[in-house]
């Protein structure tokens, strides 16, 4: 019962955040003159911009050093006041949405699609009732917890987390004001927002039926389910990208160059969620440029205004990206740490590591032939490129139905053709970078999902009317794809059931689902309340102590390279006030020795640590020989590893 109550509270909380952000975002849209015609379009644009605005406010608060829960509530109240003038309009919007006329469903297909979407969202919400247990969030949420403990944005979390993290600010808000589990509500909110933006895009440029089909094809997928339940930043990236596409197409149809500025902002926001967003944001730019020369010469007529808008768009994108990319530059010597290694010789990174990812073996291949048949390989061999579980089930709809576009091309309206061409240009440029970038991870195709599915529904809608044979094949194909994905989601949701039904408590649930949880539990029970922990464990999310993430091989926490004696190391540890060190996998000196060999050959860190251990300054207080490492929560696979906890005793 308490689980459901907590979830209701979170839903209420997230509604406040969503409505507050939307009202503020609406104000921004009004001031900038970005007015879209339909209700959904206005709401999703306002919500997207409002959430981004909120994230930047929290970032600013964090920079000043006021990142406390009361201050986070203060930000929400401030935003509410800012959005206050929009409330009458919001009320009219809500009445519009609620009116029964809006909800009259035109045909059985739409009802079926909505039903499936509701089931999928229900499964996502169900899975989100349990505390986070996947490896990923416990890995990348840890820095935001660190921010809260330090009450400021800490500039040196492990650099591999240093990718842009606008969404991370929203997670910080969730943790600071409603605790751990509120993050799941953020996941549900982003899911709904994704549905809204995809619907708005497909509704505007294809049709109402196509809009529901596009939403179903985007949301009812294993990868979308995964991102929505492990609360990854990908969903926020999708929201900003699709808003960018909406703005781009709107501009392309001649609604004025101010929309180009919005394209720049949305591209920058997408790029502020993750590096993948940077590539996808670039694809918006490519589509805009090529689109100009392909058929909308008249947009070039007002050249002065166009250039001004382009300048503003680029400036807007750079400004919103700066907090994250600028920080990477200052800290790691590489704005896109560590991807820019060949150019910037990124700090805390080695040529070997770069080579490892550049020559990743599990990709499709690197020849031009592989480039051409890539869509076939990705669809029919995806299980060979990724881990062998449900997350790699891609649906075959894009590959299957895209050729249909050629069949019906001559019958398509000019508007649909334009949209299809622009989306395909955008996708093509993203795919090219993905393919030749070397690290062909299938998950990184995700930003192309919405353009792919919108083009697919344009094709499906067209071929639907091309005779009985195609109608039957298309319906069977869609049902197979959607039902398969729904079954996969249901199967994954079952993982959370023992906790939701109360069969196991939180501790027991997390012990069986979260790697190394038992060790963090020991630390929570035994370390003093005022301990400050240097964590070489990359997943210290459930540690309830002040912590700094500081794995030597990735970190700018301590400049280990200058340390020459055990005394100097001790002084450094003391200056950071560390009282304990978490070291998974191997003894502390071995971890430091390895990092030292790879990154700082001039210093023998392993030996320095060893001396401190031998002389009693660093004392092992916990050693688990059989720590549980969960390799699949769904299948219950696990390995064993070691875990050490040390106390630092200063003279």
């Amino acid at each position: 019962m308490t689980v459901w109550l907590a979830h209701l509270l979170n839903l209420a909380w997230v509604s406040i955040v969503g409505i507050t952000a939307t009202a503020a975002g609406r104000r921004v849209c009004r001031v900038a003159g970005w007015r879209l015609s339909t209700l959904t379009e206005r709401v999703v644009l306002a919500a997207g911009l409002g959430l981004a605005f909120l994230a930047y406010l929290i970032w600013a608060v964090g920079i000043i050093g006021w990142l406390t829960p009361p201050m986070l509530w203060g930000v929400l109240v401030g935003l509410t006041i800012l959005g206050l003038p929009e409330w009458p309009l919001g009320w009219r919007m809500a009445r519009g949405v609620m009116s029964p006329r809006k909800w009259r469903l035109e045909n059985g297909l739409i009802s079926l699609l909505i039903g499936m979407i509701v089931v999928q969202v229900g499964l996502i919400v169900l899975a989100n009732l349990a505390p986070l247990s996947a490896g990923d969030p416990t890995y990348y949420m840890a820095p935001f917890r660190q921010y809260l403990y330090e009450e400021r944005i800490v500039w040196w979390p492990i650099l591999s987390w240093n990718y842009p993290q606008l969404t991370g600010m929203l997670y910080t808000l969730a943790m600071g004001t409603r605790g751990d589990i509120a993050m799941a509500s953020i996941g549900s909110m982003l899911t709904l927002l994704c549905i809204g933006v995809v619907w708005a895009l497909a509704r505007r440029y294809v049709s109402q039926t196509a809009a529901w089909l596009a939403v179903a094809l985007v949301v009812i997928r294993s990868d979308f389910y995964t991102y929505a339940t492990i609360i990854k930043v990908e969903l926020a990236m999708i929201v900003f990208l699709v808003l960018g596409w909406l703005a781009l197409l709107h501009w392309y149809e001649g609604h004025g160059h101010r929309w180009l500025v919005l394209v720049g902002l949305c591209a920058g926001l997408a790029a502020s969620t993750k590096y993948q967003g940077l590539i996808a944001a670039g694809s918006l730019g490519v589509a805009a440029c090529l689109g100009l020369f392909l058929g909308r010469g008249q947009l070039l007529a007002e050249r002065g205004r166009l250039l001004g808008a382009v300048a503003l768009a680029v400036a807007g994108a750079v400004v919103v990206m700066l907090p994250w990319y600028g920080r990477n530059w200052l800290l790691g010597g590489d704005p896109i740490w560590p991807l820019g290694y060949p150019i910037f010789s990124s700090l805390y990174y080695t040529a070997e590591e770069f080579q490892k990812f550049a020559n990743w073996e599990r990709g499709l291949g690197s020849s031009f032939f592989h480039f051409i048949i890539g869509p076939w390989l990705v669809t029919t061999r995806s299980s060979a490129y990724g881990t062998n579980d449900f997350r790699t089930i891609f649906t075959p709809v894009f590959l299957a139905f895209l050729p249909g576009l050629a069949l019906i091309w001559s019958r398509l309206s000019i508007r649909k053709r334009r949209v299809a061409v622009l989306l395909l240009i955008g996708m093509g440029s993203s795919y090219t970078v993905w393919f030749f970038g070397g690290y062909q991870k299938l998950g990184y195709l995700f930003p192309m999902l919405v353009p792919a599915m919108v083009v697919t529904v344009i094709a499906i809608e067209g071929i639907w009317s091309q005779g009985k044979v195609l109608q039957v094949v298309t319906s069977v194909g869609l049902v197979v794809a959607l039902v398969l994905s729904l079954v996969a989601s249901a199967f994954q949701s079952l993982v959370a059931l023992p906790y939701i039904t109360g069969a196991v408590d939180r501790d027991a649930y997390l012990s069986s689902k979260v790697s190394l949880y038992g060790d963090l539990r020991w630390a929570n029970a035994n370390l003093p309340r005022d301990a400050k922990v240097l964590s070489l464990d990359l997943h210290p999310y459930y540690l309830e102590r002040r912590l700094i993430l500081g794995a030597p091989a990735y970190s700018g926490v301590l400049d280990y390279s200058t340390l020459r004696s055990p005394e100097e190391l001790l002084v450094r540890l003391r200056s950071e006030e560390f009282t304990h060190i978490l070291a998974p996998g191997r003894p502390l000196n071995e971890t430091f020795a390895k990092a030292s060999r790879e990154l700082w050959p001039d210093t023998d860190l392993g030996n320095l640590v060893k001396v401190l251990m031998d002389t009693g300054y660093i004392v092992e207080i916990y050693h688990n020989l059989a720590s549980r490492i969960i390799s699949s929560r769904t299948f219950g696979w696990e390995d064993k590893g070691e875990y050490y906890i040390y106390e630092v005793r200063y003279p």
């Binding site: 299980s383 075959p396 005779g467 044979v469 195609l470 094949v473």
Partner: protein, 43 residues
């Protein structure tokens, strides 16, 4: 009766081919449908 064009037939065949190829990938890697079910049930 409406005549079905060869393009429509070709497209239908392509769609079926893609689906078969897509589903086929899960046979060799997971021990087939039955093998997969058995493993999930822990048999």
């Amino acid at each position: 009766m409406q005549r079905v064009s060869w393009q429509s037939c070709a497209l239908a065949a392509w769609i079926v081919l893609v689906y078969v190829a897509f589903l086929w990938q899960y046979v060799p890697y997971t021990g087939g449908v039955w093998g997969n079910i058995r493993r999930l049930l822990g048999l």
